[in-house]
Symmetry: C3
Amino acid sequence: MNTNEIFANQLDSVYEIQISRGEKMNALTDAMYGSLVSHLNYAENSNDIKVIIIRSDNKHFSAGNDLADFLETEFNNESNVIQFLRAMATLKKPVIAAVGGAAVGIGVTMLLHCDWVVACDDTKFSVPFIKLGLTPEGGSSRLLAQRCGTARAHDWLLTGRTFLADEALSCGLVNKTSASIESTWGDAQILAKGLTKSSLRALTDTKALLKADEIDSVLVLMEKEAKVFASALKTTECQNAFNAFLNK
Amino acid sequence: MNTNEIFANQLDSVYEIQISRGEKMNALTDAMYGSLVSHLNYAENSNDIKVIIIRSDNKHFSAGNDLADFLETEFNNESNVIQFLRAMATLKKPVIAAVGGAAVGIGVTMLLHCDWVVACDDTKFSVPFIKLGLTPEGGSSRLLAQRCGTARAHDWLLTGRTFLADEALSCGLVNKTSASIESTWGDAQILAKGLTKSSLRALTDTKALLKADEIDSVLVLMEKEAKVFASALKTTECQNAFNAFLNK
Amino acid sequence: MNTNEIFANQLDSVYEIQISRGEKMNALTDAMYGSLVSHLNYAENSNDIKVIIIRSDNKHFSAGNDLADFLETEFNNESNVIQFLRAMATLKKPVIAAVGGAAVGIGVTMLLHCDWVVACDDTKFSVPFIKLGLTPEGGSSRLLAQRCGTARAHDWLLTGRTFLADEALSCGLVNKTSASIESTWGDAQILAKGLTKSSLRALTDTKALLKADEIDSVLVLMEKEAKVFASALKTTECQNAFNAFLNK
């Protein structure tokens, strides 16, 4: 299940998962989603781990789904990508994302399930599903508005436009920005270390209360999104958009 | 049903509805609501239309309900004003509002159902229901807090105070401000044109997901608001406030 | 029930409740919660009162629960502290808080039930439950995110860190900041006086609509929070943290 494009290391009780496919701007394949799920499950179940960091080992966070790989994989409710999003949505332990460069599609929607996001000043965010004829996933059709306001969510998802780190900061998508990718990773590690002073019980009980209201309905929404997404995938519009993208 | 105080024109797949009663700061009458509903229905049902713009043809957006006209019209759950708000709340196609000058009462609450709002720097917003002894309508008792935060919603609705374009921008009521009413209209048209590059399916599927969670409960809330509003209308306080306003 | 550490005075139809225990930074005891409930009930039921102000008579708002007193009091669903939070959550009349200096724990979570918060520039806010091994209360596990955004709520509740008045203002926890504690109290009084121009019916009907959606589910959530809180109180971690705090 594991690929060398996802790896992790543990420092004290902090588990740091890294995406390592810099030559493709960390575009995510089915195998990589599978590996991410394994690492998340391991971290969630290990008594030695209190906090999870998700980052990459290069200047980009993730260009999103690898489209060529995606076209070769059956998409359904048990796909690795869906299992990954479900794992993120249901994590009991605090999770910090450290991002930079390209943060596209699922590279943004996965952030909506993180407790903190720290971003390098150079980050270019977008949720450009509509440019491929696709529709929102990962709970973003609710969580983006909840986190960043109705106006931004409708704007970003209906236009698919790129937005920069300062806009992401001003509307609460990210908690903090930093000048370099190295200092961004450092900020995430400092924050994680601070959290480990609290007990796992206090951390997970607090996070559980913060999510208690809506975790069930977010999972239902994600299933609904996945159905609309699957049906969009079958349209000629979407297939043409994929081909145009892959041949450019 | 149509009046010449509401008119519309279509450019490619953009349908632009204009309020044209500048001598009364575009105060809205029962007949005008009826006409707005007709235009919205037309736009919603036409296969040639992808995006709707709502604006006026003069420097004001709308001073809200025309109180003199309102007093002469029976208010109930099938009133044109209620049908208009329901049509706005349930629109499947993206809608952009371009506002300036006075944006009062329903001139603000209708914005809560728009996907984008662009505003001229000179816009003066208010939801002064309480100053007439009235109560929130159009879903604003939930949607204003959801869009602009709890603190602003309670402030604006309980005091009825005027607020300016920069405050509206900073809290996400509007997406963008512009120096003149002409550039505000232009911004709305540029945005609309950009959206028409996407298919109607992708636009409406995305908007449907963005609203999926709450459209039903918003309609229930609007009915509740209308009942409280109707009962407020019958109070001496409200009738005195109307008379004072009309005689000033 | 009343203690001299809580007192109130009425000016026209404004009822001003003051916390008066400056030597302990207005830390709240069981007896003080009981007195606050009495005052809130009195204000809620008096036909002469339209608006409530909550403040202190010294530079601090409240350092939160008095831990020594808390340890000597049985904590359950009918405790005075729970009755106080329930009274705040269900108030029908508008309530304004004026804060300064220390605003800690319940000194912040009670603000989430206020219609306005004005804060002195020197205010230091925190919700440091986790530093004592405790968990969120007062509806804060939902209301803090709703009012200030998901990113801040997770940050503040999971780290327990202190934040200042400008951060509280920028994310909508407070409506306005002021240079001195005297001008903060003055701002609250000016705002209250403005509100009294409206009828009690219009004020309470408007507030009822603003809270209609969620008051029931907030009360359910508060009961859930109280159960988790009670179970956290029994842990060795929490008892050690209390002892360390009391002996420092």
